[in-house]
């Protein structure tokens, strides 16, 4: 229960750092992360946040961020520095206080109401009504603010949403109750109004929680553009410089396996850059002195020195950012289902109340009695269950998808995803894994001893081919051999001694395509070719898309032969060598033809297309831009996430429509009572909570849907 017993005095000049730790997902991980960081010299305290997948470290200024990252890497956690200033605003927080107030006031007022319903009258009833008003009116004003503000905002633009009938109902009911209290009348509705606000706020909080959780999940995934880099000063000393502090003219030392933090020109060294995230091209591009290289691309071979030519907003990414801004505008015009329902609902309810008033006036009732009955109609039709119908279903569905590794950005993503009938899939990194995978046949040809030596050698290198080899061999259950004298030479490979024999893993003599060579003294050289592979379950996923009635095709920026091979393997039609603008136009063309297009892509070059499409999904390995632009992000390797997301979205919308029917069904029963003037505050309270509970129960059926 107690905080970790760290009694190191926090120095005055202590620095707060926040690290994103995407791999942290349980209590054990939290403990490991906190202990690993607390053990670092100069760290005063470390506190994890599991919701945001971050850890806040208080440390002395001498401790540098890479030290902290290294300490976590030693325990097996990837971590990236995060700027504290960039701490996102929570959508839940501003709603928690109104919800708490509404719940408190509702319970206390209900205490009075129960006495009134059980027969209190005369002075007691008047006293209880006055106490209710004392608690209720300030609470309604406070807890109702989110609705009043939103209703006022849309009304000013001459539009309407669900908050307009809510605000009108709440205001009129409160006014009537207050009047009744003053004249010592029989019925006050403070309890009903507060209950309504409480249920509606609960729905809003759930909706906000879903958005918060998805956003922090997305934020915590690996950041693709390095947030800093090693810079070589004029005196030859190297130091860590954050991306935003990089200036043109600085000299960056980029190790193999690092991403470039800024655009630049190679000064020294020979290497190859993986540009797949930027252009979709799968083959690495060679770079030597004089070559221009771009931020976000991955150095995969040898360390190089790069002179910064542009940083921050001036990089090649800015053009893509501009395209995305334009592309995102069409989607922001989408009207969510709750607001579409409100467009029909609000006028209907207000007309009904007006007609009730007119009817009772014509029937000869006094204008006061007619008004009270008309207001009862407004209160009873206040969309309590309607306010819960959409968010609860969407939150349950998003939670079910989250368990299967699909992050949903917000509820409208589920609504749009449900309408999809066409999908365009990027090749590199989306349809394929986007990372080199060793050839199965070549691995099978290795003897167990050779395999264990290869694994041991590869585990000493951060080269992408080595990483791919380690993953593949470890998955086969191979254990690493014991090596001595291990050396890694940049661009050449790893050498070591094993049982007295010299062994090496490195660049093959005749380099053709991607391959690595395993040399063991006194044995033939073993060549292991690598290739980018289709994601697991790609065929099953495409078949399921077909059975969902979604037509699929490939839209790639890669060269024609590379795309043709994948198109052949999957049997899909394809468009190759598409620029970011062409990708966006392809989607626009289909949408103009009336199709609801979904884009699945990962790269920076997919950003505009992801933003322009009706709905979009990106793999967790995607670029920052890809993940930000997409509606959903799937973190597992399997491509089955895409059909699953579509199926769950459709099921969610089905449940939402059922909820609407249930909520409106309740109105069909309650409204005639109200019009006839038989509704009392007790009936309103019972009807409201029953219909809300039914809607919640119906939505919970979605929990097991994401199988």
């Amino acid at each position: 229960m107690t905080a970790p017993a760290m009694h190191i005095a926090i120095p005055d000049d202590a620095v707060h750092s926040v690290l994103a730790v995407p791999g942290m997902h349980c209590a054990g991980c939290m403990g490991k992360v906190e202990r690993a960081l607390s053990a670092v010299d100069g760290v005063a305290s470390a506190r994890t946040n599991l919701t945001a997948r971050t850890v806040e470290v208080v440390h002395s200024p001498q401790v540098e961020t890479p030290t902290l990252v290294a300490a976590l890497a030693a325990t097996g956690f990837d971590a990236q520095p995060r700027e504290i200033a960039a701490e996102p605003v929570s959508a839940v927080k501003p709603l928690l206080a109104p919800l708490g107030v509404a719940a408190f006031a509702c319970m206390n007022v209900m205490l009075m109401s129960v006495s009134v319903w059980s027969g209190a009258d005369g002075t007691t009833r008047a006293l209880f009504h006055w106490v209710s008003a004392l608690i209720g009116v300030p609470a309604i004003v406070y807890a109702g603010r989110p609705f009043f503000a939103s209703a006022w905002k849309v009304l000013r633009y001459g539009k309407t949403n669900m908050d307009v009938p809510i605000s009108i109902g709440v205001t009129i009911a409160t006014g009537l109750s207050f009047y009744e209290t003053i004249i010592g009348g029989a019925e006050a509705w403070f309890d009903g109004v507060l209950m309504l606000l409480m249920f509606l706020l609960a729905g809003r909080v759930l909706d906000a929680m879903m958005r918060d959780r998805a956003r922090s999940g997305v934020d915590a995934l690996l950041r693709q553009v390095a947030t800093g880099t090693m810079v070589v000063a004029a005196d030859g000393e190297t130091r860590w410089v954050e991306t935003k502090a990089l200036q043109p003219g600085m000299l960056m030392r980029v190790a193999a396996g690092e991403r470039l933090a800024a655009d630049g020109e190679v000064l020294r060294g020979q290497t190859r850059f993986d540009q797949s995230l930027l252009t979709g091209e799968s083959a690495p591009v060679p770079a030597g002195p004089g070559t221009l290289v771009h931020a976000g691309t991955l150095n995969i071979e040898a360390p190089v020195d790069v002179r910064v030519t542009a940083s921050g907003q001036d990089t090649a990414l800015s053009e893509i950012a501009r395209l995305m801004e334009v592309a995102g505008q069409s989607r922001s015009k989408y009207v969510r289902i709750a607001d579409r329902a409100a467009r029909l609902y609000a006028p209907a309810v207000h007309t009904l109340a007006a007609l009730t008033f007119a009817g009772w006036m014509l029937a000869g009732a006094g204008w006061y009695q007619s008004l009270v009955i008309a207001i009862a109609v407004l209160i009873i039709t206040c969309p309590c269950a309607l306010g819960l119908a959409v968010p609860v279903a969407q939150v349950v569905a998003a939670g079910a998808l989250l368990k299967k590794g699909v992050l949903v950005k917000d509820g409208s993503a589920l609504e749009r995803m449900a309408e999809i009938d066409r999908i365009l899939i990027d090749k590199t990194g989306t349809l394929t894994l986007g990372r080199p995978v060793p050839d199965e046949a070549a691995l099978c040809a290795l003897s167990p001893l050779q395999a264990s030596v290869a694994l041991a050698l590869a585990s000493h290198s951060r080269h992408p081919l080595s990483l791919g080899l380690v993953q593949a061999l470890a998955a086969r259950g191979i254990l690493a051999a014991l090596l001595e004298d291990v050396h890694e030479e940049a661009g050449q490979g790893v050498t070591a001694r094993w049982n007295g024999l010299s062994v090496a893993l490195g660049r093959p003599a005749s380099a053709q395509g991607m391959a690595t060579a395993l040399r063991i003294q006194g044995d033939a050289v073993r060549l292991i070719p690598f290739a980018d592979r289709l994601r697991p379950d790609a065929e099953a996923a495409l078949a399921r898309l077909g059975s969902l009635g979604v037509e699929a095709s490939i839209l790639s920026g890669d060269s024609v032969p590379a795309v043709a091979a994948i198109a052949h393997a999957t049997g899909l039609t394809a468009q190759a060598a598409a620029s970011p603008l062409e990708k966006q136009e392809a989607i626009q063309r289909l949408q103009n033809a009336g199709r609801k297009v979904m884009m699945a892509g990962d790269g920076l070059n997919d950003g505009p297309a992801l933003a322009a499409a009706h709905a979009s999904i990106a793999p967790g390995s995607a670029s920052d831009v890809g993940r930000q632009a997409a509606d959903m992000v799937f973190t597992a390797d399997s491509l089955l996430a895409i059909p699953r997301a579509i199926r769950v979205s459709r099921k969610t919308m089905q449940v939402v429509r059922q909820n609407f029917v249930l909520a409106i069904g309740y109105n069909v029963l309650a409204v005639p009572l109200a019009i006839l003037g038989h509704v009392t505050p007790l009936i309103a309270a019972v009807a409201m909570s029953t219909s809300s509970l039914i809607v919640v129960a119906n939505s919970l059926r979605l929990a097991g849907e994401a199988k």
Binding site: G31, E34, N49, L50, A52, L96, A97, N108, T124
Partner: protein
């Protein structure tokens, strides 16, 4: 009526106390990491003094 004169302030006082505690907890960031709070109880602390 005499009973009410006592009970009413007591009931309201208790309610207000609950509300005040809720606001205090909200301000202190107690609702900042609900998932973490649920998991934290499971952390082994055997290596701490």
């Amino acid at each position: 009526m005499n009973g009410v004169a006592f009970m009413l302030p007591i009931a309201l006082g208790m309610g207000l106390f609950g509300l005040a505690s809720f606001f205090w907890a909200l301000k202190r960031g107690q609702f900042g990491d609900l998932d973490g709070a649920a998991a934290r109880i499971l952390i082994d602390e055997e290596d701490l003094p």
